[in-house]
């Protein structure tokens, strides 16, 4: 994208909507190339990206007809597990040879269930074929004593990491099926216990790190993806604290919302080039020399001495000028001192929206980064880093992040659910139908 005049630099780059629609239409109409085989066990997740992206671009009806959409809905239901929940894809279904002894190898999967229900929601399904009772009964079995959720139940053991992604998906499933109601549910004469909300809040709290973000386990490094999942999950269960003090009746999290917000706004970075030699935000000429010398095995005078401050000229502090900032924008990273990556535009940006601070980050700068740097100029979609080929995950999250950052060409996004507000608005009717059905 050549900038010929200084004034051009000030014009905001435009989303190439047509190219994005083409990209996603290809994804829904044709087979994904065999390189996606290593993502075979994530197909429900990929399917969600495809359907939701077309929805965000308001192109679902153009890219598919009614019969095809019904076909997609049927495919999702084909992945529904007989004991509640959904599979990620038909690959673990043992068909006619299923029996109680081999059932452990074909479990329902927590993220798959969340994305399956999301797809049904977007496609305007009425959820009548969802095994509501069995799915809700399965959720508490997926929770460990420490409050965390797992991915699958294999041979009676909750498997998968102790990971907020599963907490996010589990609470998201719960939210889509029962909204904000709490406590035991009476369904067809059967009592279905709720998950332990207090325990879940506790497991988020203990993963809050000294630097202010949230990790996947106590003492692990905080990470924007895990922070998003934790905050989203807390929002789903109505236990999110966005103000100064935390509650104990009932318990909320995070313990220090101010620290979390500060950590999140610091995810925005001008550092966009993963091949740059120095992985830091500010780079003064002296700083660069220090690092180069380190790489050569030598050390600078400043290091030996230890007491001489590494002088940074404030004028030359940034490696790029304000002009560059205006043109290139600034994306977001997932951890301190890492380079910007398209997807963190969503994980970090959406987290701020969930914390009810949507304006604290520089929305224009991130729009410039996503459209100007990582949008693919020929294929549409987004890559991970500038110049990368597009992939489903980064292309979807790029759109979602742009919507949250004020790009008017994309439908409004619900920051917690990572799909359109339109789709989200159908939930109250679904909750009603479940309540009526009981």
């Amino acid at each position: 994208m050549a900038i010929s005049k200084a004034e051009d630099a000030m014009l905001e780059p435009q989303l190439d909507k047509i190219r994005h629609v083409k990209y996603w239409t290809r994804c829904i109409k044709t087979l994904l190339p065999h390189q996606y085989t290593s993502n075979d066990s994530n197909r429900m997740y990929l399917a969600f990206f495809i359907v939701s992206a077309l929805d965000l671009l308001d192109a679902l009806d153009a890219a598919s007809n009614e019969e095809e959409r019904q076909g997609y809905i049927n495919w999702v239901y084909r992945c529904q597990h007989p004991d509640g929940g959904f599979r990620m894809w038909p690959g673990t279904d043992l068909g006619a040879r299923s029996n109680p002894e081999n059932a452990q190898w074909d479990p329902a999967n927590i993220p798959a269930t969340y994305f399956a229900l999301s797809i049904l929601l977007i496609l305007k399904d009425d959820f009548k074929r969802v095994n509501y009772e069995a799915t809700l009964a399965w959720l508490p079995k997926m929770q460990r004593p420490d409050g965390s959720f797992g991915e699958t139940l294999v041979n009676g053991r909750v498997e998968g990491g102790q990971d907020p992604r599963f907490g996010y998906c589990a609470t998201g499933i719960r939210f889509m099926l029962r909204g904000s109601s709490t406590g035991d549910l009476s369904v067809n004469g059967r009592t279905i216990p709720d998950v332990d909300l207090d325990a879940f809040v506790r497991c988020v709290r203990v993963a809050e790190a000294y630097e202010g973000g949230i990790a996947d386990a106590p003492f692990h490094e905080p990470h924007a993806g895990y922070t998003f999942c934790s905050l989203g999950a807390l929002a789903f269960i109505g236990r999110l604290s966005t103000k100064g003090s935390i509650d104990e009746t009932p318990p909320t999290a995070p313990c220090d919302p101010g620290a979390v917000v500060s950590w999140l706004v610091h995810r925005q970075t001008e550092l966009t080039d993963p091949d740059a030699g120095v992985d830091s935000e500010f780079t003064a000429p002296q700083d660069m020399d220090d690092v180069r010398e380190l790489e050569n095995g030598k050390t600078s005078g400043a290091q030996h001495d230890g007491t001489v401050p590494a002088h940074q000229d404030p004028v030359g502090t940034t490696a790029i000028s304000i002009f560059d900032l205006l043109v290139d924008g600034a994306g977001m990273n997932g951890r301190i001192n890492k380079v910007a990556d398209t997807c963190y535009g969503f994980w970090s940006g959406a987290s701020l929206h969930i914390m009810q601070q949507p304006k604290l980050y520089d929305q224009e700068a991130i729009r410039r980064y996503l459209i100007g740097k990582t949008q693919h100029p020929v294929l549409g979609g987004h890559g991970k880093f500038p110049g990368d080929l597009p992939d489903l995950l980064h292309s979807y999250l790029g759109l979602a992040a742009l919507s949250l950052a004020g790009c008017g060409e994309i439908k409004a996004v619900d920051a917690r659910m990572c799909l359109s507000k339109d789709a989200c608005a159908r939930l109250p009717a679904i909750w009603q139908s479940f309540t009526a059905g009981r």
């Binding site: 038909p90 002894e101 000294y210 003492f219 925005q268 502090t317 604290l360």
Partner: protein, 360 residues
């Protein structure tokens, strides 16, 4: 070493597999979503996998088959668990398994399952290091495992993974598990973090690991203990002087003060080294993080609110303009408190009893 001939074996034509009737993938209807153009090789391996899973078969040939599937689809969420069960049931050589994991790790660096599998294998080899610790050294009768040798191999492998990517999240998490499981708190971990930080002072994962080594042992006081705290503060200050605009050690410093329940003002003079606003010739600022911390220090003291404001304005307009909206928000919060006369902008640990279970 990978056996290429076996990787390419067609199960259908292989007499060893003649007893198997493969289970084809369930019919997906006319409109599947995210359908992938499988290679024949993958489709076949998956069909055979489903069949042996259906029989819950635990045999050596399953080890070859699961390896095959894993190499094409390492994120399959039951195949690793199945493989582990088969390894244990067939009393397979777990050291060989670790060697294979070493080889494949560089391909699947960001895959959770591979690290969980490794943990299972290592735990199986050495379920209770504490009891074996009494007789460390060459293999002793009945134990079959030299704990020190296993630990040395694991830490060496982890170090080699860091050579490829010094910030790999899963590898750092695995290293934390090694420290906890084998009780390596005083066995060179602190030195390891120091070496990592020396290699790259901006490696936040290394800083995080240091925090863990210093504060993570159950029952230890960590930086609440004065000697430890002084050592850590001195270390952190040294690193800040090397690169004042590096956020990692500034957060580490704040973390120490919070955990030890010390006021931020104890490091006021240190901050001023990097952000001196008193000079008549102009601001002398080398670090926006110093300014940020000074703003917090001054905000506590009603008499110095104007100084706090000045720091925030400098951040907003000059030293950290990308976060201008955030610094403006901080200014507004400060104004609110100044107007109300209530000093409610104290850093969290200075106003509140931390009754919740926060491991800081």
């Amino acid at each position: 070493m990978p056996d290429h001939a076996e990787d390419e074996a067609k199960y259908y034509d292989d007499p060893e597999w003649a007893d198997i009737e493969p289970i084809q993938q369930a019919d997906q209807g006319p409109n599947p979503l995210a359908a992938i153009a499988y290679t024949d090789e993958y489709a076949e391996a998956m069909a055979y996998l489903r069949t042996v899973m259906a029989r819950d078969e635990k045999s050596e040939r399953v080890l070859r088959l699961t390896k095959d599937v894993i190499e094409m689809n390492p994120a399959h969420y039951t195949v690793w668990l199945y493989r582990a069960q088969v390894l244990f049931a067939t009393h397979a050589d777990l050291h060989k398994e670790l060697e294979w994991l070493n080889e494949t790790a560089s391909q699947y660096q960001k895959n959770y399952q591979i690290w969980h599998h490794r943990q299972l294998i290592v735990s199986r080899l050495c379920p209770d290091p504490a009891s074996s610790a009494a007789t460390r050294g060459p293999p002793f009768p009945g134990a079959g495992i030299d704990v020190d040798s296993l630990v040395a191999k694991e830490t060496s492998f982890v170090a080699s993974m860091f050579d490829k990517d010094a910030k790999n999240y899963h590898v750092w998490s695995y290293r934390q598990w090694l420290v906890r499981h084998f009780g390596l708190w005083d066995k060179g971990e602190l030195e390891f973090t120091e070496a990592s930080i020396e290699k790259d002072v901006r490696n936040n994962s290394a800083w995080n690991h240091r925090w863990y080594v210093v504060n993570g042992k159950e029952g230890s006081e960590g930086v609440k203990e004065e000697k430890v705290r002084e050592r850590e503060i001195a270390f952190t200050k040294r690193q800040i002087r090397l690169a004042p605009q590096n956020q990692s050690p500034w957060n580490y410093l704040r973390g120490i003060l919070r955990k030890a329940n010390l006021r931020f003002s104890t490091v006021q003079d240190f901050c001023i080294e990097f952000a001196d606003l008193s000079k008549p010739e102009g601001d002398d600022v080398f670090s926006s993080h110093a300014l940020d911390l000074l703003a917090d220090i001054y905000a506590v003291d009603e008499g110095r609110n104007e100084q706090a404001k000045r720091c925030l304005l400098l951040l907003k307009d000059k030293y950290d303009p990308i976060r201008a909206n955030y610094w403006q928000y901080r200014l507004e919060m400060l104004d609110k408190e100044m107007g109300s006369g209530i000093d409610s902008h104290l850093p969290e640990h200075e106003t509140r009893n931390l009754t919740s279970a926060v491991s800081v």
